[in-house]
Symmetry: C2
Subunit: 239 residues, 2 copies
C-alpha cells in the first residue's frame, strides 16, 4: 500500500484510516454514544439522504463517500451549495426549522452517521466541546459560503475552476489523500452548477488548464502539474 500522502482517493481503493477512524470531529465518540443513538447508514450513488421539505430530525456526519447539498426553488431552479466528504456535517443549515431547507444527494456510495438532533442538543449541555464543535461547524460553513460568494462575484470562469480545483486538492490533502492526483466525485454539471457556470464552460476551461500545462485532465481524473501556477490563476497568493 502506498503512503497516505500519495494515496489517490477512490471508493474502491484502500483508504488511509489514521486517527479519523475512531474519532468523531475530534471528539470522543464513545462519550457521545452515552447520549445519542448513532445510526450508521449506507448510501449509494444517486440516492438522497434527505429532501427539502422533509421533517428535520437529525444531523449527519459523513464517514466516507461524497454528497452534494442542493438548494431548490419552487419553479425548478436548483443550486448546488456544497460538496461534503469525510469529517463534514450535513444538515446543520436546517437547525431551528421543522423541515429540511435543502436536499443532500450522494455522488458515490459511502457511509454516514445519523445523529438525532434532540439527543444532540441534550448531549451539548453536558459536553461543552461538542457544543463548541457544532457551533464551529456552523461558523465554518458560513465562512465557506462567503468565500464562495467572493469567488463567484469577482472571478471569471477560468479563475473559478482553478480555485475550485485548489480547494478540492486542499480537502483531499487534509483527509490524507494526494493533493496532486485525485478523482473528482461530481459530474461536470454539478461542478458547473456550483460555480454558477454551464457544464460546457467548465469542460472548456478544464481543457484550457490542460493546454496551459497547469493540470492534466482525463474526464474526472485530475493531476496537478503546476500547483503554484494554479493557485496564482485562482487569485490566491502561493501558500
Amino acid at each position: 500500500m502506498s503512503t497516505q500522502a500519495e494515496t489517490v482517493a477512490a471508493a474502491d481503493t484502500n483508504l488511509p484510516r489514521a486517527a479519523h477512524e475512531a474519532a468523531f470531529a475530534g471528539l470522543d465518540i464513545e462519550q457521545l454514544r452515552k447520549y445519542v443513538q448513532v445510526t450508521r447508514h449506507k448510501v449509494v450513488a444517486g440516492q438522497s439522504l434527505y429532501h427539502a421539505g422533509q421533517p428535520f430530525t437529525a444531523l449527519y456526519f459523513v464517514q466516507s463517500g461524497c454528497l452534494k447539498t442542493v438548494e431548490l426553488a419552487e419553479d425548478g431552479r436548483d443550486q448546488v451549495t456544497g460538496f461534503r466528504m469525510r469529517g463534514d456535517f450535513l444538515g446543520v443549515e436546517s437547525i431551528g426549522l421543522k423541515q429540511h431547507a435543502c436536499s443532500a444527494v450522494a455522488l458515490e456510495s459511502g457511509e454516514v452517521w445519523e445523529l438525532p438532533y434532540p439527543a444532540m442538543l441534550a448531549a451539548c449541555r453536558d459536553m461543552p466541546e461538542l457544543q463548541a464543535r457544532l457551533t464551529a461547524a456552523l461558523a465554518e460553513e458560513i465562512r465557506n459560503d462567503h468565500a464562495w460568494m467572493l469567488a463567484i462575484g469577482t472571478l471569471n470562469a477560468e479563475q473559478r475552476v482553478a480555485s475550485f480545483l485548489v480547494d478540492v486538492a486542499r480537502r483531499y490533502a487534509r483527509m490524507g489523500y494526494s493533493a496532486r492526483h485525485f478523482i473528482l466525485r461530481m459530474r461536470r454539471t454539478d461542478m458547473a452548477n456550483f460555480l454558477a457556470l454551464k457544464h460546457e464552460t467548465v469542460s472548456r476551461v478544464m481543457s484550457r488548464l490542460d493546454e496551459l500545462r497547469l493540470i492534466e485532465v482525463e474526464r474526472r481524473e485530475v493531476r496537478v502539474l503546476n500547483d503554484a501556477g494554479l493557485r496564482q490563476l485562482a487569485g490566491m497568493r502561493a501558500c
Copy 2:
C-alpha cells in the same frame, strides 16, 4: 405620527419602537446583563465596526442603522456578503477564530450592542434559549447565503435586482416599516457588488423596472407599485 405599518424607514424620522425596544432577539435583556457586560456603541456612516484580521472578541447586535459585511481577498477583490439591520447579529461568522474573517461597515449612523464573546459563551451555559437563539442565527445566516447562491447562480440581472428589492421590502415589513415605500440604505455600488453585477447594470435595471411600472425609483427612494409583478419577476410564487 403615521401608523407603524406605513412608516417609511429613515434615519431621521420617528421610528416604530414596538416590542423590539426592550427585547433582545426575543430574549430577556435584563437576564443577559447578569452575565454579559453589554456596551452600547454609536456608529456613523462610513465607519467600520471591525476589520478582517482584527482580534475577534465580541459579537454585535444591531439596534438601529444599517451595516454591510464585506469579505475581502489579499489582492483587493471584495464582496459584500450581506446587509445587517435592527435585530441582526454581527460577527457570528468569526466564531471559533482568533481574528475576524470579514469587515463590517456602517452605511448610516446607528447603534450596536457589543457582546463580549467569552461572557456570551458562559451565559449560554445557563440560558438554553440564548444558546438556541445564537445557533438559530448561525443556521439562518447559512440559509440566507444559500438563498443568495441560488439567486446569483440561476437568475439574470433583472431577476436579481427584483428579488433583492422583494427581500428588502420583506425585512422592512418585519421591522414594522412600510414594505411599499422605503429608502435604500446602500449605494448602487454596494447593491451591485452584493448581486455580483456592476453599478451601471443595477442602475439600468432599476430604470427598467420603473418603465415597467413595477416600481417607482428616485435615486435611493423606492415605491413598490406592483408587488405581485415584482415577485413574479423575482422568480417567486406570489406569496
